[in-house]
């Protein structure tokens, strides 16, 4: 693609940030909010890096780029003019080895081939099972009604005949959810980013048991007692341990000796059956077997406290996908003067040879920009201690919901099985068209797990066999699989320690004013990401407040206050006030403005009170 000519960027900024991933975007917004001049670049043509949600066309380009062999011919021979007291540090621009084992399957082609009795493709050959075609009409052109039935019921949805509608799919590269009482919700409310976003709550969660049956995760006292997941005897125990976790801090002596030990050990000490331990670990806390007791307790508590804030659901999902979050923080940064430029990165850091401090960067366009700090993605600089882990991803488009997951937007956790697939916990997120990530009549289903086999397809293909109908394994009560995509992502993470610590600090071999940030982690939530963004901001600007509350709800005015139309202004302020109070858990506040909440939020805010712990 031809490079479009550009205006030059301003030549000096307080901070240059590369990559519009969520952590960088939060740091960018916080820095701009603190009055710093921010230049925020991204090599891609879209926002979000691996936190992005891609539209179909962008996804196609992404697939194309990441399917290519990695060729590092980009070794630029361009020489940057440096002063005597400067050294330059080259940046790694090609991060394409992050994505591997990409396989896209259009099942309508597969169906057509099966129907014609032709040879299987290489992909198909992996699925060894005799093709049984029980649907005679699918032999014919799908848009030709054969008998007198109305066309709609006759035409089978296939990926091919979705046509232009495909453009309306929004694909999360890494799906995540917000805990209703998690820090992400607090930060977006406090910073004002929440005005750019809308959410759906996940009213039901599911888990699957050893017999592969899908069971609803109890999310309230009543749920626990009606749940079929545990026997009558276990119910009391489950209630007891959940009540304990909800306010574990108050019983420090009860878990003290397990603090450094795995959460499983603590749970075992509470006289619980294996069944319950597995259930708490994987479906409530959603942590690994090896997770420490303290983190396990925190995760369980976060889950329990999140219930009842916005419906009896612990999680929210952003409309249009998770990519809206980094874009929201980028907009906030831009409103506070941050300069944005996509399809551009930096190729070198310029470091003073005297004091080893960063003094500037060189853009991929060759432009030199002075700055006093730099934040970039882990892996951009060959130095810095970075660890990496691999996750397996699958995205499925189906013509219906998974049998047993009757709630349209919901999460299913499949615990690791000792003998069977999977070998690590798999999260299955089912989204329907009301999330605006899929089209009417289709579902987008995301599966994510830590990699255990050699490829994402190997790790996650069991989901197809278990839950979907395909032409090789047709089934009446399962949704038909229209399209699937598999890939592995290698995610880097870096540890941030404040100041002095040098041994494990990522800054150790980098200039002190250069900071690297992690890729998304493998959890379903944003908690770690917020934590890291705060930490990075604290390293950069220890004396500045982190994303303080917005000064005014209506807009940010550089100049004088508005006097005209004071009615509306009063209205606005009132609304903002009720937002604050909501955040402060005073949900019962019966201001008329509360009426402007949509029903769902309102319902539960009244239901939720008077006791916060009502839900469990």
């Amino acid at each position: 693609m031809a490079h479009l000519p550009d205006d030059d960027l301003p030549s000096s900024f307080d901070i240059v940030i590369v990559g519009t991933g969520l952590i960088q975007s939060i740091v960018a917004a916080a820095a701009a909010r603190a009055g710093k001049t921010v230049l925020h670049l991204d090599n891609n043509s879209y926002y979000g890096g691996c936190w992005a949600t891609l539209m179909y066309n962008d996804l196609q380009r992404w697939i194309e780029v990441h399917s290519k062999e990695v060729t590092d011919e980009d070794e630029s021979t361009v020489v940057t003019q440096l002063n005597e007291d400067e050294v330059s540090v080259k940046c790694n621009l090609s991060l394409s080895d992050k994505v591997t084992n990409l396989i896209e399957i259009n099942h309508s082609e597969e169906e057509e081939e099966e129907d014609k009795g032709e040879n299987k493709t290489d992909e198909e050959a992996l699925v060894e099972s005799v093709p049984i075609n029980e649907e005679p009409t699918s032999n014919d052109a799908p848009d030709m009604p054969i008998n007198n039935e109305p066309i709609e019921s006759k035409v089978k949805v296939t990926w091919n005949n979705l046509g232009n509608q495909k453009k309306r799919f929004n694909f999360d590269l890494i799906p995540k959810l917000l805990y209703c009482r998690g820090e992400m919700v607090d930060i977006i409310v406090q910073s004002g980013v929440s005005r750019y976003l809308e959410f759906k709550s996940l009213p039901k969660l599911y888990c699957s048991n050893a017999n592969h049956e899908i069971i609803q995760v109890p999310c309230s006292r009543a749920d626990v007692f009606t749940s079929s997941i545990v026997s009558m005897l276990e119910k009391r125990k489950l209630m007891k341990v959940l009540t304990f976790c909800a306010e574990y801090e108050k019983h420090e002596t009860d878990y003290q000796e397990y603090i450094g030990h795995p959460f499983t050990e603590f749970l075992q000490s509470r006289d619980l059956t294996d069944n319950i331990i597995q259930f708490i670990l994987h479906s409530i806390a959603m942590v690994d077997e090896s997770e420490t007791t303290l983190n396990g307790l925190k995760a369980t508590q976060m889950f329990l406290h999140s219930l009842g804030r916005f419906g009896n659901a612990p999680f929210l999902y952003p409309l249009f996908g998770n990519g809206e979050l980094p874009q929201g923080f980028c907009r906030l940064c831009a409103v506070f003067g941050g300069v944005y430029c996509l399809k551009r990165s930096i190729r070198e850091l310029i470091v003073s040879s005297d004091n080893k401090q960063l003094i500037g960067v060189v853009c991929t366009t060759g432009q030199r920009i002075q700055c006093s700090s730099f934040v970039g993605p882990a892996g951009m600089l060959s130095s810095g201690s970075v660890s990496s882990q691999r996750i397996s991803r699958a995205i499925f488009i189906t013509d219906g919901q998974i049998d047993g997951m009757d709630e349209k937007i919901s999460l299913l956790t499949i615990p690791p099985a000792s003998d069977d697939s999977p070998a690590s916990r798999v999260s299955v997120l089912q989204l329907d068209s009301s999330t605006l990530t899929s089209t009417e009549g289709t579902n987008m289903i995301h599966a994510t797990c830590k990699s255990f086999g050699s490829s994402a397809k190997e790790d996650l293909e069991f989901i197809v066999q278990r839950f979907f109908s395909t032409c090789t394994t047709p089934s009446d009560n399962k949704p038909r699989l229209l399209w699937s995509l598999y890939y592995n992502l290698s995610l880097s993470s870096c540890s941030h320690s404040t100041e002095t610590d040098s041994s494990r600090d990522v800054k150790s071999d980098l200039p002190p004013n250069v900071l690297m940030v992690s890729d998304p982690d493998d959890t379903i939530s944003y908690e770690a990401c917020i934590h890291e963004a705060k930490k990075v901001f604290e390293c950069l600007y220890p004396d500045e407040p982190f994303l303080p509350r917005m000064p005014d709800s209506e807009d940010i005015i550089y100049g004088e206050e508005e006097t005209a139309s004071s009615d509306q202004l009063a209205g606005e302020t009132e609304e903002e006030t009720s937002a604050n109070q909501k955040n402060d858990e005073e949900d019962q506040h019966n201001d008329e403005k509360d009426q402007e909440f949509d029903e769902k939020v309102e319902d539960t805010s009244t239901k939720q009170n008077p006791e916060q712990n009502d839900s469990i």
């Binding site: 479009l4 409103v335 909440f597």
Partner: protein, 205 residues
Amino acid sequence: MAKTYDFLFKLLLIGDSGVGKTCILVRFSEDAFNSTFISTIGIDFKIRTVDIEGKKIKLQIWDTAGQERFRTITTAYYRGAMGIMLVYDVTNEKSFDNIRNWIRNIEENAAADVEKMILGNKCDLEESRVVSRERGQLLAEEHQVKFMETSAKSGQNVETAFLNLAKDIKNKMDRRNPGDDMGTSQSNVHVTAGDSSGSGGGCAC
């Protein structure tokens, strides 16, 4: 319960950097023009409630926050927009040519039925005009949208333009079957009570 408005419309301003989008917004919402406007801190959005056919309509008008400058408008900017003002500068040929690109950009990212209007701004600068009124008119006809020349400086047509766009949106809503919703469903969760609650929602009653 005293409602301050009957409908809430989310509107956007789009166009090349420097054509006067922010000035148009400030003119419309505050009836002011500050030619020494240095946008170090941008405007997120502005609110003005207008009266159309006896209904109070709250217009929530979003600015680009300068992200158009290096072709980096977020796709999120377009979410829930019900009307878009496409602005060019009558003294800048390229800003006029780029209107086509912006329309393509809107087609890719905004709702298919979003109301659009083209504005040729800075029409007070008659001596340095390079795009004639007729060419603006033709372009608008080609895309079947309304057209107006404006001046954020003198205030000419700014108010009329917004009222026109709002009226078109309202007419479209009135024509619609009341059972249809305007896009996003009622069950969406807003984690703030701020103004985003009405975006795309249409009737706030």
